[in-house]
């Protein structure tokens, strides 16, 4: 019996009940449909000419030392945010994406989408080369065809449509301008369906322009969020989490600590961290927000903006608003807090809030002086098409206004709400071109499909704020016959007789030389360029911009609009999925399997409903309902959800992509209109069917067990000293000998927001397998670290605590004594070691682990990995076969690496030399790692906090991880 084990799928005896509803259960998720996948060895930066056999380095590449990793800075763009990242490369290919320490805002943290999108580079579904009318062709033919099409379109007098995502790159913008010069009929539309169109509309009416607002959560003491999931899905979540969490970990009960008020219908990640949470229908937010404006003016004496009269706010008396009545106490406390906080307040709203609510938020920020302090709008936002604009565009397409349409990295065939209208529109455009990474829904309807480089194979620059300009550089030569999108445009320009540059790198460097490098710079451009590439960014010192000023009459108009009352039907809130975003990551196994931070479901999107509504309809988790439009979908009872509010995430229900297909429900079609996020629903009708949710956590409450402590600040202040001190329990076991460092961790539950970035980072670093929805349902997910989410208090407004749980590396590890073959034992540095090649798989260790952090390879999850995906494996970590137990190793490979570097440099190992993947990825810096045998190390100091505790300490396992109790700061303490 060898290691060539058959695939995950069990052909004969899998349950047939899942097939009809969830076709994914039949498929192999990492299995490949295509055969080719032979990949060039990607040697450094040389272009891969052909798919030759692998050749060892007889002439060593300068940059590559086999076995030593290289790190390159780059940038990852998602929507209107550009994250500066540091990418680890081994043997000339990227294997792990982390944040770039040089960036002044991100400081080494990045979005877990960037980490996960490593799989996008190696996705076996990627187009290998240009496809014309269904057959592979070469670039010359493709480019010729495209240029001819553009010329014909220009000649016909009809327009040429170019749809792209938000353009954050000044160089790309300049190139597009050049293209527009060459093609007068070109209409460039920037389309981001997941953008917050309410916010943009509000800014446009209030300020006259839309900016990329920067929120300084680290400066805010009182934060009010109206359907604004800034920790989970709203824009730049990384700096939001970092700033927010920084104010959540006071050293003592005296503070300082921020206070978060959340008003929302469903339960979002931000809602789980709320100190005061108000479950309320989104349609009521506009009126609540204006009521706050009025109250802050009357009670706090803050002046209303010029042009907005008190009389315009008469309809919004807090005492008289029916929606406000159940929450009178909270709202009063909020008003007090806001007035006391002044410019340390921050009021923000999200896409599900109405335009009026956004306007009211700006008014509040302005009145309190927070505008310009906690909320800044300095950088002009890209000119995205609004929802109305895009609808008009589709109408124009249907009217035959365009002779050619190019869709570059956008997928409107999937995310445009009206399928019929879109199909009709596409039919009226004769020449349809798709420039993109994967053959997706839009590509299926385009005659010419041009594959682009992944961002890890691309050059570019990005500007999202005026003080930092970031660069993107490729980590590997393009794996397939792809080009960068900008290079395609350059070829078009050349074909149109307006050559601009040989390639995009040339264009980029020329722009940097002529426009970016300061004119008085003393160093030659080559050095300047290399220095910027090394750092991944260029810092500048722009002049400060004045705070934005509101247009008073627009405020008054918004107030008038807000007074209208919505019909009292059920409201469906559509939220961007925290993992799949707008659907673009549907083919990403890591993100599909990552549990939703709140519902803990993976591989799908259930319809969340309040437990009251679920009871009324006699529904439980997994029961199918129909919304009257679209197919039936399963529900999930969500504690804390407002009655009458339903919630569904966008980004699922794709039908192209071997991993993405048939997973979840396509919520985009429910919207009815582009970018609409709140809908009135007549009701839900149970259909009687069932679909088991792929839950990674079945039980939601602690049942009185002291395993994840959460206190209010007041409780913390009142805790008697003996409860806060920890003494060592007596033990019959001899103490472990201690020489050298003993590795341990401190995890601050107060900082942790439950985002799950640690889960994805660990999966990337340690080659953790994706198992698919059927195995997740059976309870066999392989994540080495998980975030447990517990509700406390009553189901209508619960308090939530997130607890990352990973191997505790216990000193008295119960797993070590019971392994019959000694496959798991204790290292001298305190790590519980796992010897995969010795494990016979009796699973006694898993039974004896009280934390249940051990994962068993019940089936062969890895040997069928497609060849291109195998490149994503970290070569420093074994890929485990079937029948072997695995678990967190504290990234022992990083520890050993650091050890060897220290030896080479003839110095002792410093515990700051090592950061495990989870600690590095956590935007809240909740996970701190280091030497707990050294009382002066960072982790030791944090562990000594009187908030510290060990999980299940009474079992005598002596875990190496100290958790710090989560703190909440509900109103009633006086000063915020």
């Amino acid at each position: 019996m060898g290691e060539h084990n058959p695939p995950v799928k069990l052909p004969i005896l899998t349950s047939a009940s899942q097939d009809g509803v969830d076709g994914v259960s039949r498929r192999r998720f990492l299995a490949l449909m295509g055969a080719s996948a032979a990949v060039a060895t990607g040697a450094g930066c040389k272009p891969a000419k052909d798919r030759a056999a692998v050749v060892p380095y007889t002439k060593k590449q300068e940059e590559i030392v086999p076995g030593i990793a290289d790190y390159y800075a780059s940038t990852f763009q998602e929507g209107e945010v550009a994250y500066s990242v540091l990418v680890k490369a081994r043997e000339g290919r990227p294997i792990h994406v982390e944040g770039n320490d040089e960036h002044p805002v991100y400081r080494g943290k990045t979005s877990f989408h960037a980490t996960a999108d490593l799989l996008g580079l190696y996705d076996p579904d990627r187009l290998r080369g240009p496809v014309l009318d269904g057959r592979l062709c070469d670039w010359n033919e493709a480019t010729d065809h495209l240029v001819r099409g553009l010329k014909d379109a220009a000649g016909s007098g009809r327009g040429i449509l170019l749809v792209t995502p938000a353009v954050l790159s000044p160089s790309r913008k300049a190139l597009l301008a050049r293209l527009a010069e060459a093609l007068p009929g070109l209409r460039h539309v920037q389309w981001e369906p997941a953008a917050d169109h309410s916010a943009r509309e509000a800014e446009r009416t209030l300020f006259g322009e839309v900016t990329l607002a920067r929120y300084h959560f680290d400066r805010a003491k009182v934060i009010v969020a109206f359907e604004a999931d800034f920790l989970g899905t709203l824009g730049d979540t990384v700096s939001a989490i970092a700033g927010f969490a920084g104010m959540r970990r006071p050293d003592s009960p005296a503070g300082p600590m921020n206070r978060l008020y959340v008003f929302e219908g469903g339960m979002s990640l931000t809602g789980t961290k709320a100190d005061v949470r108000v479950p309320i229908r989104p349609s009521a937010l506009g009126r609540i927000a204006f009521a706050l404006v009025r109250a802050v003016h009357l009670k706090g004496g803050r002046a209303l903006p010029a042009g907005l009269e008190l009389s315009a706010l008469d309809a919004f008396a807090l005492e008289r608003l029916p929606e406000a009545k159940p929450f009178a106490a909270q709202l009063d406390a909020l008003v007090k807090d806001l007035c006391a906080a002044g410019d340390k307040a921050m009021v923000l709203a999200g896409p599900a809030a109405s335009v009026e609510a956004h306007v009211a938020c700006h008014i509040l920020n302005s009145m309190l002086g927070a505008e310009g302090v906690t909320v800044l709008g300095e950088q002009a936002a890209p000119a995205l098409a609004s929802a109305d604009d895009f609808k008009k565009l589709v109408d124009e397409m249907t009217a035959g206004k365009f002779a050619a349409a190019i869709f570059w990295d956008v997928n409107p065939a999937y995310d445009y709400p009206d399928d019929g209208a879109w199909k009709a529109a596409m039919e009226k455009v004769p020449e349809r071109v798709r420039i993109g990474l994967l053959p997706d829904e839009t590509a299926a309807n385009c005659s010419l499909v041009l594959p682009v480089n992944h961002w890890l194979e691309s050059w570019n620059d990005f500007e999202t704020s005026r003080d930092v300009l970031t660069l993107q550089q490729p980590l590997v030569a393009p794996l397939y016959q792809t080009l960068q999108g900008e290079d395609i445009l350059l070829r078009c320009l050349a074909g149109l007789g307006r050559p601009a540059a040989e390639n995009y790198l040339g264009w980029l460097k020329e722009r940097w030389r002529s426009e970016v490098q300061p004119k008085d710079s003393p160093i030659p451009f080559a050095r300047f360029w290399n220095a910027c590439l090394h750092d991944g960014l260029l810092r500048r010192r722009p002049d400060p911009t004045p705070a934005r000023r509101l247009d008073g009459s627009a405020c008054a108009r918004a107030a008038g609009q807000a007074a209208k009352v919505a019909p009292g039907k059920m409201e469906l809130v559509l939220d961007v999925d925290p993992r799949l975003y707008d659907g673009r990551y549907g083919n990403n196994g890591w993100l599909q399997e990552m549990p939703d931070p709140v519902t803990k479901t993976s591989w799908g999107n259930p319809l969340s409903m309040s437990p009251v509504d679920a009871d009324r309809l006699h529904l439980k988790n997994g029961d199918m309902v129909s919304l009257g439009k679209g197919s039936a979908l399963p529900i999930m009872c969500q504690r804390g959800q407002a009655e009458g509010v339903l919630r569904l995430t966008l980004g699922h229900g794709r039908w192209q992509g071997s991993v993405a297909s048939q997973v979840g429900t396509r919520a985009w079609t429910l919207a009815g209109a582009p970018a609409r996020r709140v809908l009135s629903i007549d009701g839900v009708r149970p259909t009687g069917g069932r679909q088991e949710l792929a839950l990674s956590q079945d039980h939601d409450t602690k049942d009185g067990r002291d395993i994840a402590r959460q206190w209010s600040l007041a409780e913390y202040a009142r805790k008697p000293q003996h409860e806060l001190e920890r003494e060592e329990l007596p033990s019959l076991y001899a103490k472990q000998e201690q020489k050298g460092p003993r590795w341990g961790m401190a995890i601050d539950l107060s900082s942790c927001v439950g985002c799950g970035a640690c889960v994805v980072a660990c999966q990337s670093e340690n080659n953790v397998a994706v198992v698919g929805p059927e195995q997740v349902r059976k309870g066999r997910a392989m994540h080495w670290i998980r975030v447990d989410r517990y509700y406390e208090g009553d189901a209508a407004s619960p308090s939530v605590v997130h607890e990352p749980m990973l191997c505790q590396h216990c000193d008295n590890a119960p797993c070590e004594t019971v392994c019959p073959v000694q496959a798991t034992n204790h290292g001298p540095d305190g790590i519980n070691q796992m010897a995969y090649n010795r494990c016979v798989g009796t699973r006694y260790c898993a039974n004896n682990c009280p934390y249940k952090v051990r994962r068993f390879n019940y089936l062969d999850f890895t040997s069928e990995t497609p060849e291109s995906m195998q490149l994503a494996f970290n070569p420093e970590v074994t890929v485990r076969p079937r029948g072997v137990m695995e678990k967190c190793t504290f990234c022992v490979q990083r520890i050993r690496n650091a050890d060897q570097i220290a030896k080479r440099e003839k110095r002792p190992l410093r515990d700051t030399d090592v950061v495990p993947a989870c600690g590095s990825a956590c935007p809240a810096s909740a996970i701190v790692f280091g030497d707990i045998a050294n009382p002066e190390s960072g982790v030791s100091k944090i562990s000594r906090s009187n908030r510290g505790f060990h999980v299940l300490e009474e079992l005598g396992t002596k875990p190496a991880i100290t958790y710090l109790a989560a703190l909440k700061n509900p109103a009633g303490r006086g000063e915020p």
Binding site: L10, Q697, H699, K778, G841, Y844, R854, L859, R882, M885
Partner: protein
């Protein structure tokens, strides 16, 4: 001459071991005829059934080896399911045979002679069924030999602190001692078979198997000594083997497993289940092979009394578990105990208590102890109840332990059931084959119980 004593009450009097007149010759003929004859059609039908069950089991085991333990219902947190349940169940079944062969031999309970051979054979077969599972249930069974301590070039020993290693020693010792003990007892009977058959392959096989036994006095002396020694060794095993198996659970920290009552509780349960299986098999055997005069109603009566006694001990053990959970004030154990009788798997706990404690209580009544339908019903209930008890202990304790975030149900798959069925198929196939080719009663021992075989002590026949 001893003074005459008052006659003993009937219940305490030794019962008649044999019904009717039996001479050594008739005994030989009655027992040793079967290997010579064609078995009746019913035997073939039964064999076809058990072989089909075995075939299902073999297929499911092959499926498991090919695809992995994922073919079963195991998951996180329930990493042990039917595999270990079946293992403990079958090891337990074997204990009755050893108790009858060894312990009752040392106690000079002559009634054991009629049933010892079959019971001991059932022990061997039960341990064979059990031995499949520790290897089959591992993730990489082709490395199963690593569980044995053998010197190797990597200088790695097994982890002697692990109960699974103790299992290896206990079960392998159990099997080897039982096999040798059983074989030793068979030698005189093989010799009888050899002497009864005429030329041919069968005679040659019996000749080899009988090791040159001629019934000489020196042979009998050696035989008696060896038998006594092995009985002594095997006696210890009755207590130790299942205690060691119980350590798999008791040594861990899983709530519901970590209890000091487990070793005696498991040993009692093993004897309990084993006797139930012996009763089921022997009631069928004595009917189909016309051995009712040798395996009398009295034998069955005594065995049923043992079953009753064990049932009461099990009742005490269950009560103590609940009592421990209550006074320990340990929320984890209390939660687990509540799950034993309520919740998703509560039906399993109720079934266990009903089958193991309540139903066997009918054996307080003599009529029930001597009624074949009643004892088959009780024995089947006990078999089911004891299997269900292992299910309760393993699955219910594991599925909801310390951290509620990892709570998850265990749903066995068709492969799980197929392997369980296959194990029964293997056991009963071996039983049928044994009955076909070997003497099912130890004729040499039985002859010692015939009237006139023992030196009489002037009328009083205690022994």
């Amino acid at each position: 001459m001893k003074p005459a004593t008052a006659p003993l009450p009937e219940a305490l009097r030794p019962f008649e071991l044999i019904e009717g007149v039996v001479t050594p010759a008739s005994l030989d003929h009655q027992v040793l005829q079967f290997p010579d004859r064609r078995p009746p059609r019913a035997w073939y039908v039964a064999l076809a059934v058990t072989l089909s069950a075995l075939a299902v089991g073999v297929f499911c085991m092959g499926y498991t080896l090919y695809f992995g333990i994922g073919a079963w219902g195991n998951n996180r947190p329930v990493a042990w399911g039917f595999g270990i349940i079946n293992f403990v169940f079958w090891v337990g079944i074997g204990h009755a045979g050893t108790l009858i062969s060894a312990i009752l031999f040392l106690f000079r309970a002559r009634w054991r002679n009629a049933i010892a051979r079959f019971a001991e054979a059932m022990t061997i077969f039960a341990v064979m069924c059990a031995a499949i599972f520790p290897v089959l249930h591992t993730g990489r069974p082709w490395f199963g030999y690593w569980l044995f301590p053998y010197p190797n070039e990597r200088a790695i020993w097994v982890n002697f602190r692990s109960p699974l290693v103790w299992d290896v020693f206990a079960v392998s010792t159990y099997f080897s001692v039982s096999l040798v003990f059983w074989y030793l007892g068979l030698v005189p009977d093989f010799a009888s078979m050899r002497d009864r058959t005429s030329e041919g392959l069968r005679k040659r096989i019996y000749t080899v198997l009988s090791l040159g036994w001629r019934g000489a006095t020196s042979h009998w002396l050696h035989y008696d000594k060896a038998y006594l020694l092995l009985a002594g060794l095997a006696t210890g095993l009755v207590i130790s083997v299942h205690s060691v198996v119980s350590f798999d659970f008791a040594v861990s920290l899983v709530p519901g497993w970590h209890m000091t009552i487990f070793p005696p509780y498991f040993v009692a349960g093993a004897i309990f289940a084993g006797f139930a299986m012996v009763v089921i098999v022997l009631t069928v055997v004595r009917k189909t092979m016309n051995l009712s005069n040798l395996i009398t109603d009295n034998h069955l009566d005594v065995m049923n009394r043992l079953i009753l006694a064990m049932s009461c001990i099990m009742g005490y053990a269950y009560f103590m578990e609940g009592g421990t959970a209550w006074y320990s004030a340990n929320p984890y154990i209390q939660h687990t105990f509540k799950n034993y009788v309520s919740g998703f798997y509560g039906w399993a706990g109720i079934t266990t208590v009903t089958c193991n404690i309540i139903i066997p209580q009918i054996f307080w009544f003599r009529r029930m102890r001597r009624s074949i339908p009643a004892m088959i019903f009780v024995a089947l209930a006990v078999t089911l109840g004891m299997w269900m008890e292992r299910f309760v202990i393993i699955v219910i304790s594991l599925h909801q332990d310390y951290l509620p975030s990892s709570w998850h149900l265990y749903i066995p798959t068709k492969i799980d059931f197929g392997i369980l069925l296959g194990s029964f198929g293997l056991f009963f196939t071996l039983v049928l084959l044994f009955a076909r080719v070997m003497p099912v009663i130890a004729t040499s021992e039985m002859k010692a119980s015939l009237p006139g075989a023992q030196a009489s002590h002037g009328g009083a026949s205690h022994e």
